[in-house]
Amino acid sequence: MRLHSLALRDFRGVKDRIVRFRALGTTVVVGDNEVGKSSLVEAFGLIFDLPDDSKSTRIKDIQPVGQDVGPEVTAELSLGGRELTYTKRWLKNRSTELTIVEPDGRRQSWTGREAHNEAERLFKQNVDPVLWQTLMVSQGQSLVLPTPADAEPLITAVTAESGTPVDGASMPLVTAVEHEYLRYWTPRGKPTGDFARSAKAVSAAELGAAQALQAMDEVRSDIRRAERLNLDLEDVTARLTDHLAGVEELRERKQATDEILLRRDSVRSRAETGRARLENHTRTRLDRERLLDEVERFTKYETELAARRGDAELVARTAAETVQAAEAALAEVVELKDLRRTDVQAAERRVADLMDRAELDRLIGQQTELVDVRARIAAAGTILDRIKVDDAIVAGLEDARAAVVEARAALAAGVPEVTVRRLGPEPVELTGTGLSATGSSGAGSSGAGMPAAGSPRAGSSAARASGAALSSAGLDGGGSAPAELGFDESAELLVSGELVVGVPGQVEVTVRAGGEAATLRSRVDDAVRRETDLLKKAGVKDVAAARDLLRKADTATAELNEARRTEKSLTSGGDPGERIAVLTARLGVDDEAETEAAGDKQPAVEGVPGQMSLFEEFASPHDTLFDEVASPHGTLFDDFEVPEPKPDDLAGAQRILDAAREALAEAERLLSDAEFAVAQARKAADEDRSEAQNARARSELAGERLAAAVEELEAARAVLDDDAVAAAEAEATTEVEAVLEELTVVQEQADEAGADQVAGELTHALAVATRLQGERDTLRDALRTTEGRLEQSGRDGLATRRDLAELELAAVRAEHESLARRAEAAQRVYETLSRHRAAAQTKYSEPLQTRIESLGRSVYGPTFRVWLDDDLAVAERELDGVRLRVDALSTGAQEQLAIITRLAISHLVSTGEGSVPVIFDDALGWSDKARLRDMGALLGRAGDHGQVIVLTCMPDRYEYVPKATFIKLDG
């Protein structure tokens, strides 16, 4: 196919344009974006694809927007040697016109649908769609490497070039072979489908058959085992039978020998009896011999012991005497010691007496002094007790006196003074209160004679008042009012209260002092009362006496204190009285003598020297009591006697005491020696005595035993005398020897008959029989078990099972073998065919590869090589010795390779009927300047063989294309 021209009207943005292409060579259509370059390609596609009445959106899309016009395309092209002019208008004023000029010049025209159909038919007939698609590179597709294997014109071309015949009729065969292969094998060559399943079935059947076979093998081995067991069982049974016969024989033999053994037992028992009797007789003889021996031995022994007893008793007696002598000596020494102790005690007592006496004297003196002092203390205390006056009381008294004087004076001045005088016989009675007689009254005796008058109540009260008045009057020297006036008596009274002067039966005068008077009166009374109280309290008559007493009290106090100090010093060592009482009691009877002797005290002390000489005179020996035991020193004190000391000679007494003590110590030493001697003597005596007792006891025992032995011997002899004993023994010995001889004979018989072995043999034989029986039973059990198992195998039909399993195995095996044969055949065919196809493919690819490489070398130089895959697509490229997969190349290189491949394909098919233009829409966008030059040259050369159409907006990319026709499209 050659495209000569394309005319577009109202097509997208194109109003009206016609573009003419060179039938051979390269046409570069240059135009800016959107100017309609791609529309040219699109229009060419549409005119063949869609009829004029098409409602396709592709048609709607090409209508200029907003214009109600019909897009129209006219294409002029050569197709299979014909020249076509094909016009189509869609949407508005639809029309289709086709005019064909045959090679022979005939011209034909179609319109409408017929025109479309005819054009479509011609196109399909002459243009291989794959090749068309391959060589028409629309925008953005320039990188895609073509895979042209299915493009018939290419195949035809390469076939023609390679010289290999066309494989047209083989394609269905290839499919069939592959299909057959895949029935049995996976694409990777593994068994699959029925073939694989049958292999598995064979394995399973083999397993089943093996198991069934094994089961039968077990059955067979069980049969063999059972056969063997049967044989063994027969053998053992036979042996057992034989053996049992032997056992029976042994049993009979044993019965025979048992008789001999019985006899031997009887003789044996007799021999034992005889031997026992002999032993009895021998024992009797030995007993007798022992008795005789004992009697002899005990007699001798008894005599020895009696002698030893006499000796021991003598020794014991001597020892007892020694003890008595020692004890007597000890008693004497004890006595001496007692005497010495008495002396010591007397001396001690004397010393104590002397010391007590001295103490008593001192105490008595002290006591006398103490009595005196205490008498003084008592006297001073008495005085002080009597005196109740002190400095405060005296001061109080003086104040009270002053107050009385002051109050009286005030009263005297303030109250009426009444003077009453009895003039007649008539008694005049004076009663009242607050009355006091003035000093001037002359009634010194009147008070005493005044009787109690008036009513008891009034009289008593008046009397008291008058008494008080009188008393107070008496104390301060004033007179109180008399109750009655004697004849001619008068009373001058100061009335501070009320005065009633009555003459019974005659008159009664009442004088009352005014208010003032009563107050004054009470003041006086108070002062007097206070003074009186004080005086009473002090126990004095008046103030002067009080002062006197105060002085006396001071003196007594001083004395008392001094006496107390003295007493305290005297009693600091305790009450001398008690001590005196103790000493007095101790001295006791000497009290009086001492009292008397107090006067002789001095002369006693003077007599001390005389007494010492007297003491020395006593030291002369006159006692021989201790001759036997006395020590050599003993003589020093033999004549010692406690001297009578002179009274009050304390030092002398002390010395006497020391001497006495020394003598006592000596006596004690003597005593301990004597005691030791006694103890020794006693011990020796005890030992000798017990020795004597032992000797006696032993002697007595020996006597007893001798008596017993003699008695026993007598008794034995009474039963059997000594000669008879010996005879009996000899007889028993003979008897035993005879029986033993008989036993030997019987034993020989038994040995001869093997009697002792038979029992053992029988036992052994029985054991063997038992073992054989056990063996037989074991075999029988094993046989039964095996037979049982076989019975079960029979029930299970194991042989049938095995046969079935083998049958099954044979069947699946046969099937598998058949399948395997078929699979192998399929594989063989598949592999053989594939190998041949691959070889052919390699041959086909060679022209294309050569063409690509030749074109490529003009761009890349002589090291450029390519490899094609089964689909004739470029798979790898080598440059300068570096081989790379296509997808590993740079984008530019990929694009260049794609263009080169297309040009090569175009070149290959250009000569054939089915050639098509190569159309590049906007390619080479990825190539650099240097490459562009080379690619340009390539494109130019490609134009030598075919029609190349380049659509671009970058004309400079193609400026190196030689002999290219440039067509500029304007907007």
């Binding site: 059955v219 049969i223 099972r801």
Partner: protein, 381 residues
């Protein structure tokens, strides 16, 4: 004396499997073997036989499945006269023997006697059966000898009146003369046995183990199996009717219904294939016939394909048709015409040519591949 008629059969081998028959054929064949037993019953009735003896291998194994035993018992019941069975090598009286199993003992019909001893069994007045039952699969000596070892020569044998007692020996085993010395177990001492017949101790010897009816002497016979078991057997499927009177008369009567056939063909052209087709067509009882084909020759690919089709189709008609692998050497012989007719070109043609040459070089696999490719190309074309 009156003549005695009885039937002699052997080698029933009930429970036997034949793998070449396929499951369906196996079932039918197994049933046929039982049917043949039943037919023996019919023969006994028809011929007035006094009893039936079976000389060994009644069962295929001691461990056959229960079904086989029960069905055998049912078949035995169809025999209206007493039956005497002898244990053979397949069903020896070994431990675990079928004959002592509860399965057999529980179901065995009352008129059936199994010879388990060598003591004479008086089946009728004046008729004794002695047997030599197999006690093991591997006897150590002449398996028949124990059956007649204890017999004494009847002094009356030479008298014209004949023997007072008719003695029939039942034995199982191979005769050296017939086994060709290939037997694994001791064979029967034929001379001794014939001597026992000659001196009148035995009036008839019924043998088993050989599946083809075989006359050894007038009085010594193999009855053969009641139904064929292998194509090698030349006279199977009979029961012997034995009549002992003044002399002896033995008559084979067919009771089998199956055929097992070996067929040998030479295949080299279309005609030979047609001849084979005709041969198949003429065979009777096809559904009860097993054919084992031995073949030699070479065929063009289309003829080979046709042969396959024929054998395949006959396999459906017959009980079984089998290529006898050992003797099947039919080769494809593709000629140039075959290939040209396929109009192959390019790689396909090259591939086929390669296979053809490999086949010519003796590559068996190439033959199958070539046939396949031929078929595929033909179908694809």
């Amino acid at each position: 004396m009156d003549s005695l008629t009885f039937l002699h059969s052997s080698d029933w081998q009930l429970g036997m499997m034949r793998r070449f028959l396929g499951p369906d054929g196996q079932a039918r064949w197994g049933q046929a073997r039982l049917d043949a037993v039943a037919r023996i019953g019919a023969v006994a009735e028809r011929t007035g036989a006094a009893f039936v003896v079976v000389t060994g291998d009644v069962f295929e194994h001691n461990q056959v499945e229960r079904q086989t035993i029960l069905r055998a018992c049912e078949a035995l019941k169809r025999i209206p006269v007493p039956v005497v069975l002898l244990p053979g090598n397949h069903d020896a009286l070994e431990p675990g023997s079928l004959w002592t199993s509860s399965q057999w003992l529980a179901h065995a019909p009352g008129h059936v006697t199994v010879l388990t001893e060598t003591t004479p069994f008086r089946i009728l007045p004046g008729v004794e059966i002695v047997g030599a039952p197999w006690r093991s699969r591997r006897p150590l000596s002449d398996p028949a000898a124990p059956g007649y070892a204890g017999l004494e020569v009847d002094p009356a044998v030479d008298s014209a009146a004949g023997p007072a007692t008719i003695r029939i020996l039942l034995a199982h085993g191979q005769l050296t003369s017939l086994s060709g010395g290939m037997s694994e177990v001791p064979t029967i001492d034929q001379a001794a046995m014939e001597a026992a017949v000659t001196d009148g101790r035995l009036q008839y010897v019924g043998l088993g183990d050989r599946h083809s009816t075989t006359r050894v002497t007038d009085r010594i016979w193999f009855s053969g199996t009641q139904e064929v078991t292998s194509p090698e057997e030349d006279a199977p499927g009979n029961v012997l009717k034995v009549t002992i009177g003044d002399g002896i008369e033995v008559e084979p009567i067919r009771v089998g219904a199956w055929h097992m056939v070996d067929h040998r063909v030479e295949l080299f052209d279309e005609e030979s294939i047609t001849a084979l087709e005709d041969w198949f067509a003429e065979l009777p009882d096809k559904e009860r016939t097993y054919v084992r084909l031995a073949g030699d020759g070479s065929l063009s690919l289309p003829l080979l394909t046709r042969l396959d089709t024929i054998i395949d189709a006959q396999g459906e008609v017959f009980a079984s048709v089998e290529r006898w692998t050992k003797f099947w050497t039919v080769r494809p012989a593709p000629d140039a015409a075959d290939l040209e007719s396929l109009q192959l070109s390019g790689p396909a043609r090259a591939a086929m040519e390669e296979l053809r040459q490999a086949l010519a070089g003796g590559d068996e696999g190439a033959g199958a591949a070539l046939s396949l490719m031929h078929r595929l190309a033909r179908d694809a074309g």
